[in-house]
């Protein structure tokens, strides 16, 4: 089984982000970046499938600027066998990313695309589902457990009502949820080994895909500051205020 794992370069989830001067984007100067945590979980799962003998090859792919090679190097250091950068400096909406990944799918013909359920920068939760639609493949989203069976994957999904177990026939798309696994620490030996692993760069033109966006980023602003709290004397007063002032009950 060959697995394609898309990984996105995102601002480090622990870094503080703020809008830039004209509010057209977040301020990106001196912002640290990381692999999108959900993609890291997807990659970890792919590596475990390979270690268990179910997978034979793991290809990491990233869509983004040249700097995304840093995240691909991390993926290679963790255990991906090779990497592809689809290099673009355009601002991409989710359909454009899905179109590019679909084109990579057609080039690579993997048995499985395993990716994060969402990227923590935009929190869209769209690319996996769009890919499934574009490629007309079965999908299992929000996976919290994955088991390889012959020609199929058994996936436990976390839903609001409990755990749902589904089975998808390969080729298929699975998106990873937080509880799927805990990614390993990158070993220095892995980083050194990654030096000699292939990293290929493609452009949207190479893939024959238009990246024109149907969604536009209009403005970035900080949420309003929280108002200072109010101390109430009694439960009765609380209920009254919730009714009359906050108007929530």
């Amino acid at each position: 089984m060959k697995i394609l794992v898309p990984v996105k370069r995102v601002p480090d989830p622990y870094a503080k982000v703020a809008p830039n001067a004209d509010g057209s984007d977040i301020a990106r100067d001196s912002l640290p970046y990381a692999v999108n945590p959900f993609d890291e979980i997807a990659l970890e799962e792919a590596i475990r499938l390979k270690e268990a003998g179910s997978a034979t090859e793991i290809v990491a792919v990233s869509v983004g600027s040249e700097e995304s090679t840093e995240q691909l190097r991390t993926a290679l250091a963790m255990g991906a066998d090779r990497a592809i950068l689809v290099q673009t400096s355009d601002w991409l909406d989710a359909p454009a990313v899905a179109r590019l990944l679909a084109a990579v799918y057609r080039r690579e013909n993997p048995d499985l695309i395993l990716l994060g359920k969402q990227a923590v920068d935009m929190d869209n939760n769209q690319v996996g589902q769009m890919l499934a639609a574009m490629l007309d493949l079965p999908q299992a989203t929000f996976a919290s457990k994955i088991e390889a069976q012959s020609g199929q994957m058994r996936v436990e999904r976390e839903t609001d009502n409990g755990t749902e177990t589904v089975s998808v026939t390969l080729p298929a798309i699975i998106t990873a949820d937080l509880r799927l696994n805990e990614p390993r620490y990158v070993a220095l030996t892995g980083i050194v080994r990654a030096r000699s692993k292939p990293l290929e760069t493609l452009t949207s033109a190479d893939l024959g895909v238009s990246v024109s966006a149907s969604v536009r980023l209009v403005r970035v602003e900080t949420p309003p500051k929280r108002q200072a709290g109010k101390r109430v004397e009694s439960p009765q007063q609380l209920v009254q205020l919730l009714k009359e002032e906050a108007k929530v009950i």
Partner: protein, 595 residues
Amino acid sequence: MSQLTLRGGEFLLREAEPRDTFIYEDFTSEDLLIAQAADEFIRGEVLPKNDAIDHQEEGLAVQLLKKAGELGLLGADLPEMYGGLGLAKMTSTLLAEKMSLQASFAVSTGAHSGIGTLPILFFGTPEQKKKYVPRLATGELVGAFSLSEAGCGSDPLSARTKATLSPDGKHYLLNGEKMWTTNGGWADVFIVFAKIDGEQFSAFIVERGFPGVSVGREEHKLGIKGSSTRRVILENAQVPVENLLHIAGKGHHVAFGVLNIGRFKLAAAGLGGCREALTIATRYAKDRQQFGKSISEFGLIKEKLAEMAIRIFALESAVYRTAGMLNEAFHGIDAGAENANELYHHADEEFPVECAILKVLGSEVLDFVADETVQIHGGFGYTEEFPAAQIYRDSRINRIFEGTNEINRLLMLDQMMKRAMKGKLPGMMEAAQAIRSELNQPMMPSPDPTDPVEQVERHVKNAKKIILMTAGMAVEEVGMQLQEKQEIVARLSDCMIHLFAMESAWLRVRKLQEKGLDATIASAMMQVYAYDAFDAIEASARRAILSFVEGDMRHILLTALKRYARRIEINTMELRRQIAEYVIEHERAWSASGK
């Protein structure tokens, strides 16, 4: 050894160039990935267990050491043929910085990878290396170094532990007690020093399981409580003759031959501790309200935050500059070569002055930062509820071990003079001569430069002249008795430490500018550091001069000092405020890029 751009000690005589200077901002993305891997391990696995580590929870430290070993964090700069990764000294220095956040664990890993492993790599036979180094590299074995005894610390060659050859000639029998062995509680392999027949000071590779080897109880320490410090007790301990390390009677090569790297790495670890402490102090200062505002808005707190950042910047510049120098010396040594040990020895001997400077600078900046971290926390800094107290306790050891700072100050000048006498510092005489003839010329006052980099350049050049002049005259006037006048030696060493740090900061700022990186805050830090360092150099030189000459000669020297010590005045309060704003906004010490 490849061609060195600056030999050991030469920084005092010649001008260094930015292009030959390694700076933090030269690291590749692979280096940064390595740093990140270490950082994630420490923050993810080690820091959350801080309390358990400090209480020496049974088995925890060893378990973490092994995990670190599995990830390749312990053998970074060991050669690949012995199970290491063969990384450059700069990269392994970066790693040492990142591994330092839990001080006890840093001491455990540092002692293991440094003084616990390097003696075998540098001095062992190929068989000894094959037997021990690969297993030390992965943490399968834990290493330790037993040099000090209760009766001898700073003077280790007076050790009383003895070795005698067994009647059948198969073993050395060791008798005595070593004190202060880091990792004593859990090490598998000890480098032990003993005198064969009470005379020939020698090193031995001693396994924990050898008959007659045992360890004492844990010392109850002021800080780094999670590190293990024990006596190693040797009662007719049977050490196979093939475990003699290096040559009988040449144990001092081994003892001193790994201390340079150890001292240097201590500074790198200190740097990591400093950066973390500044972040903790800054967050607290922003959070803590007094008189209706954050204490970070008060000038005196800003001054503290700025000063911490400034010293960290100077230390960081000096650490990575020296890492680059050490790398030049060690780069390209073929670990499998027949004369590998000779090459290691040669490389290690090159930079004792710089390593001693870094040891003192690193431990003193760390202590300063730890102390101010407590002060910014006020009363809460004095309780165990906040991390400041532990930072304070943990930092203190660094001025004591790996040679006390007194010993390192003495050693600095001693080594400098030895190098000069052995002809390893060509140009020393010429430099001293040039100063003399310059002093005989009337000086035309030149206009003060306005560019900060040029201002500091003048201070750096003149600081070198002040030191050369003062040291040269001290040697001339006091002669061989200089060793007895330790106060003078220490003042000269202080001058060298300040010079090396300010020059390193200056070189880094120039290189940052050449790289087109934003050096505004870096340049401000360089300016303030250099201003104060230059003051300190003048004051130390004056104190030294006043203590060794009198009469006309004193007058001449003080006049010359005044000439070279002409300062370019700047408003350091304004600069410090700018620096503090940066620290407060970013909640960390300065860095050119994201992390």
